[in-house]
C-alpha cells in the first residue's frame, strides 16, 4: 500500500496547489455585473467593488471636462453619473442612446469612475417598435416561417 500512499500524497499536493491558486486573491479578480437599478439597490455594499454596469447613454448627457468624459447611464428611469477616466479613446459606437457597459468602481460621491467603456449601437435594420412611423408595422420575423 506504500506506493499508493505516495501517489495519494502527490495527487493531494497537485490538487491542493491548484485550489490554493484558484482561491487566493480571487476576490480582487472578481467583478460584478449590474444594471443601473441593481447597482442602486446594492447601496453601500457597492463601494470599492469592481463593477461592470450596463445601461443606455442618456441623450445629450455626454460632456468633456478636461481629460474626463462625463455622461449619464439610464435604465428604467434610474440614472447613474459616470466619469470615464481611462486613457484609450472612446469607441466610435459610444453615442447618445447607445447601450454602454462601464467597467470601474462606484465612488462615495455617487459618481461611477470607469476605466473602460464598451458600447453598442442598435444595428441598421433591427428597427425598435417605438421608431416606426404611424401606419407601419414591425417586420414580423416569425410570420413568414414556411411550412
Amino acid at each position: 500500500m506504500k506506493k499508493y500512499g505516495k501517489f495519494a500524497a502527490l495527487i493531494a499536493i497537485v490538487v491542493g496547489t491548484v485550489l490554493w491558486l484558484a482561491t487566493s486573491g480571487a476576490t480582487e479578480s472578481q467583478s460584478y455585473y449590474k444594471t443601473v437599478p441593481e447597482l442602486q439597490k446594492m447601496g453601500g455594499e457597492a463601494y470599492g467593488k469592481h463593477i461592470r454596469v450596463g445601461g443606455d447613454v442618456e441623450a445629450g448627457s455626454i460632456q468633456r471636462v478636461g481629460k474626463e468624459v462625463q455622461f449619464v447611464l439610464v435604465q428604467d428611469t434610474t440614472k447613474l453619473r459616470v466619469a470615464y477616466t481611462g486613457t484609450d479613446p472612446l469607441p466610435d459606437t459610444f453615442k447618445d442612446g447607445a447601450q454602454a457597459l462601464a467597467d470601474g468602481k462606484l465612488e462615495r460621491d455617487g459618481i461611477f469612475r470607469a476605466k473602460t467603456i464598451q458600447a453598442k449601437c442598435a444595428s441598421k435594420y433591427e428597427a425598435k417598435p417605438g421608431d416606426l412611423k404611424p401606419g407601419q408595422t414591425a417586420p414580423n420575423i416569425n410570420s413568414g416561417k414556411s411550412i
Partner: protein, 670 residues
C-alpha cells in the same frame, strides 16, 4: 426555394429520428434489414441537410434579403468570401453548419465501417443520429435559418442587410469557425464508438483503435481552430493580445484540453489495459464540452449582463447536456465491472505515473477554466450576484499549471514503463538539465528577474534538448547501421515510428509556443496623441507620423496613419495602422500595423482620433518572441500530420500482462 429548404430540414429531422429507432430496434430484435435501413437513412439525412445548406448559401451569395438570416448577416457590398462565411456567422446558420458537418461525418463513418463492427455499429449509428436529431430540432423549431421577413403576411425583402460583423471580415476568421466546428463535431464520433462499445460490452479496446485517427484529426482541427482564433485576436482586435480568457475562447480550448488528456491516456489503455473507465469518462467529457462550447459561443450566456434565462437555445442545450451526461454516467456505472484495469501502478517515476499526472493536471486546468467561465452563472445561482473573474485570475492559475505540464512534456516520454532506473534518469536528463541551468543562470545574470519567465525558458530548453537527443540517438543508430547520413536517418527514423516521433514534434511545437508565451513578460507599451510630423518612442524604435489620412468607401469609413519606423537612426520602413468604421453594422475595427520578426514584433494600433479630432491616438507595443507562437503552431500541425501517416514498420503493441505465477519451473519430460 425557402420552402424547399425548410422542408428539407424538416424531412431530415424525421429521417434522423427514424434512423435512431431503426438502428436500435433492428439491433435489439436482430432484424438486419432495419439496421441497414437505419444506415441508409444516415445517407439521406446527409443529402437533405446538404440541400438545405446549399439553399442557404445560395441565398447568401445572391443577397436574397427576404431571408431574415441573410438580412442580418450579409449585405451587398461584402466580398464574396465573406458571403460564404456568413453561413456560420450567425446562430441559425452555424447550427445548420453543425448539422451538416455531423451528417457528413456520420455518412463517412457508416460507409467506412459498413463491413466492420457489425455488433456495435447499430448503437454507434443510434448515438450519432440522436445527436443529429437534437441539432435538427434546433434547426427546425428553435433557430430556423429559413425564416422570412414579412409585413402583413407578405414576404418582403429589405433593401440591404446588416452585413457580417466586420470583426469577422478577416481571412483567418472565415476559416477559424469551420476548423473549430470540425473539431467540435468530430468528437461525436469517438464518443459514439465509446458508448457503442460500452453498451455491447465489447472485449478489448476496438473502439480506441477504430477511432484513433478520428480523434487525432479532430484534435488537429481543434488545435488549428484555437490557433487561428489567437492569430485573429492578435491581428484584428487591436489590443495586442492573443488570449484574453474570454468565455468564447475558453469554450474553444476546454474540449481541446480534455481531448489532449484523452489522446495521452488512451496509450495507457492500448499498452497496459489500464484507465479504461477514465478513457470513457474523458471521451464523454470532451464530447459534452464540445456541446457546451457550441452552446457558449452561440447563445451569449456568459458575456452579456443577464442573458442566461433569456437565451432561446439555452434551455434546449442545457436539457440535452443534462440528459446526455446522466445517461452516460448510468452506462458507465452499470458496466464498471467490465472496465476493470488489467495492470496496476508500480512506481511514482514511471511512464504510467507521468501519464497519470499529465491527465490530472490537464483535467484540473480544464475544470479551473470551466469554473472560471461559468462563474457568473454559478455565483448568480448561489448568491444572486453575477460575478465574473478577470484574466489575472486565469493567469495566476494557468501559468504554473502550464509550466508543470511543460516539464512533464520533457520528462514523461523518457520515463520507462513500470519503473525507471536512476541510471536511465541520469543518462537522459543530465545534459539537458545542466544546459537549462546554465541558461537560467546566464539570463539571470543578464538582468532577467521575472521568475516565471526564467522557469519557462529553462524548461523550454530542457524539453527541446530531450526531444533533440531522442531524435539524435535514434538517427545515429540507423545511420551507423545503414550507412545513411544523419538527415536521411532522421527521416527514416520518423517513418519507422510515426506515432512516437510525430508526437515528439508536437511536443516541440508546444515548447516553441511556450517560448512565445514567455515573451509576454517583457512587453512594452506606449500611447501618444500624434499630429503629422510628431514622433514617439517605444522600446528601441522611434516612430514618426508622416501622414494622417481619412476617407471612405461603400463598405466602411477609415482613418489611416503612416508611421516611419527607425531604430538608432536606421530606417526600417513604414507601418500603416488603420481604423475602420463599418457603415452597415455600425461597428469599428482596427487594421493594425505589425513588423514581425523572430526576436520581437512592433505592433501599432490606431486607437482613434483625439477628443478635438485633430490628432491620432497611436498605441505602440513591442511584443518579444510572439512569432514563435505561430511557428510552434505550425510545428504542432506538422507533427500531428506525421502521427497520422502509418508507420513503415507495423507495430503491434505487446501488452505486458501478468497472466499468472509459476512456483516452479516446468520440467520437460523426456
Amino acid at each position: 426555394m425557402e420552402n424547399l429548404g425548410a422542408l428539407a430540414i424538416l424531412l431530415a429531422f424525421c429521417v434522423a429520428l427514424y434512423a435512431t429507432f431503426a438502428s436500435v430496434i433492428g439491433r435489439l430484435k436482430a432484424k438486419p434489414f432495419l439496421v441497414v435501413s437505419g444506415e441508409r437513412a444516415v445517407y439521406s439525412v446527409w443529402a437533405l441537410v446538404t440541400l438545405a445548406s446549399g439553399i442557404l448559401v445560395y441565398s447568401l451569395i445572391t443577397s436574397d434579403f427576404r431571408f431574415a438570416y441573410v438580412a442580418e448577416h450579409s449585405n451587398r457590398t461584402m466580398p464574396m468570401l465573406y458571403k460564404y462565411a456568413a453561413w456560420w456567422g450567425g446562430q441559425e446558420g452555424s447550427l445548420l453548419f453543425w448539422s451538416f458537418l455531423l451528417s457528413t461525418y456520420a455518412s463517412v463513418v457508416v460507409f467506412t465501417n459498413r463491413r466492420k463492427h457489425r455488433d456495435m455499429m447499430p448503437w454507434v449509428v443510434g448515438v450519432i443520429t440522436t445527436i443529429q436529431t437534437f441539432f435538427l430540432v434546433l434547426n427546425n423549431f428553435v433557430a430556423n435559418p429559413f425564416q422570412m421577413l414579412a409585413t402583413d403576411k407578405l414576404i418582403v425583402a429589405v433593401p440591404d442587410g446588416n452585413g457580417l460583423s466586420p470583426l469577422l471580415q478577416y481571412p483567418a476568421m472565415a476559416i477559424h469557425p469551420p476548423m473549430l466546428y470540425l473539431g467540435y463535431v468530430g468528437f461525436s464520433i469517438p464518443f459514439a464508438f465509446a458508448i457503442g462499445s460500452l453498451i455491447t460490452k465489447q472485449p478489448g479496446d476496438g473502439w480506441i483503435h477504430t477511432t484513433r485517427r478520428w480523434t487525432l484529426v479532430t484534435w488537429l482541427f481543434q488545435s488549428t481552430g484555437v490557433m487561428l482564433g489567437m492569430a485573429w485576436a492578435y491581428h484584428v482586435l487591436g489590443w495586442g493580445g492573443y488570449w484574453g480568457w474570454d468565455p468564447v475562447e475558453n469554450a474553444s480550448v476546454l474540449p481541446w484540453i480534455s481531448g489532449t488528456a484523452f489522446l495521452h491516456s488512451v496509450m495507457m489503455q492500448e499498452k497496459k489495459g489500464m484507465m479504461k473507465v477514465w478513457n470513457i469518462v474523458l471521451v464523454s467529457t470532451t464530447f459534452f464540452l464540445c456541446i457546451l462550447g457550441t452552446f457558449l459561443t452561440r447563445s451569449g450566456v456568459v458575456q452579456s449582463v443577464h442573458a442566461f434565462a433569456r437565451s432561446e437555445v439555452g434551455k434546449y442545450f442545457v436539457s440535452f447536456l443534462a440528459l446526455g451526461i446522466a445517461a452516460t454516467l448510468y452506462l458507465i456505472l452499470d458496466r464498471l465491472e467490465y472496465l476493470k484495469s488489467e495492470a496496476e501502478l508500480e512506481s511514482v517515476i514511471s511512464r504510467e505515473s507521468s501519464f497519470l499526472f499529465n491527465n490530472l493536471i490537464l483535467l484540473a486546468s480544464c475544470f479551473a477554466v470551466l469554473w472560471g467561465t461559468l462563474f457568473p452563472v454559478i455565483s448568480e445561482a448561489a448568491t444572486g450576484n453575477k460575478i465574473s473573474l478577470d484574466a489575472d485570475w486565469y493567469n495566476r492559475l494557468m501559468v504554473p499549471i502550464g509550466l508543470f505540464l511543460l516539464l512533464l512534456t520533457g520528462v514523461g516520454p523518457l520515463f520507462a514503463w513500470r519503473r525507471t532506473s536512476v541510471e536511465s534518469l541520469r543518462r537522459n536528463f543530465q545534459y539537458p538539465g545542466i544546459a537549462s541551468l546554465v541558461l537560467v543562470g546566464a539570463l539571470a545574470a543578464a538582468g532577467v528577474r521575472h521568475p516565471y519567465a526564467l522557469i519557462s525558458l529553462g524548461f523550454c530548453l530542457f524539453v527541446a534538448l530531450t526531444v533533440i537527443m531522442e531524435f539524435y540517438k535514434g538517427a545515429k543508430a540507423i545511420a551507423a547501421k545503414n550507412n545513411f547520413n544523419l538527415l536521411h536517418a532522421t527521416a527514416e527514423l520518423t517513418q519507422r515510428n510515426t506515432r512516437r516521433y510525430g508526437g515528439y514534434l508536437v511536443h516541440m511545437g508546444i515548447v516553441l509556443m511556450f517560448v512565445g508565451f514567455t515573451g509576454h513578460a517583457f512587453n512594452q507599451a506606449e500611447v501618444k496623441e500624434l499630429n503629422k510630423g510628431d514622433t514617439m518612442q517605444v522600446g528601441v524604435y522611434t516612430l514618426r507620423m508622416t501622414d494622417l489620412q481619412q476617407g471612405e468607401n461603400e463598405n466602411y469609413a477609415w482613418h489611416r496613419a503612416t508611421m516611419d519606423v527607425t531604430k538608432n537612426g536606421e530606417p526600417l520602413g513604414t507601418l500603416e495602422p488603420e481604423k475602420r468604421f463599418y457603415k452597415a453594422s455600425r461597428q469599428g475595427t482596427s487594421e493594425v500595423g505589425i513588423r514581425q520578426r523572430p526576436n520581437e514584433d512592433l505592433y501599432l494600433n490606431f486607437g482613434g482620433m483625439s477628443d478635438d479630432n485633430q490628432r491620432a491616438v497611436i498605441q505602440a507595443y513591442v511584443f518579444p518572441l510572439v512569432m514563435w507562437i505561430w511557428i510552434g503552431g505550425l510545428v504542432l500541425i506538422g507533427g500531428t500530420l506525421i502521427c497520422l501517416v502509418p508507420s513503415k514498420v507495423k507495430m503491434q503493441y505487446a501488452r505486458t500482462e501478468v497472466v499468472g505465477y509459476t512456483t516452479q519451473h516446468a520440467t520437460v519430460k523426456k
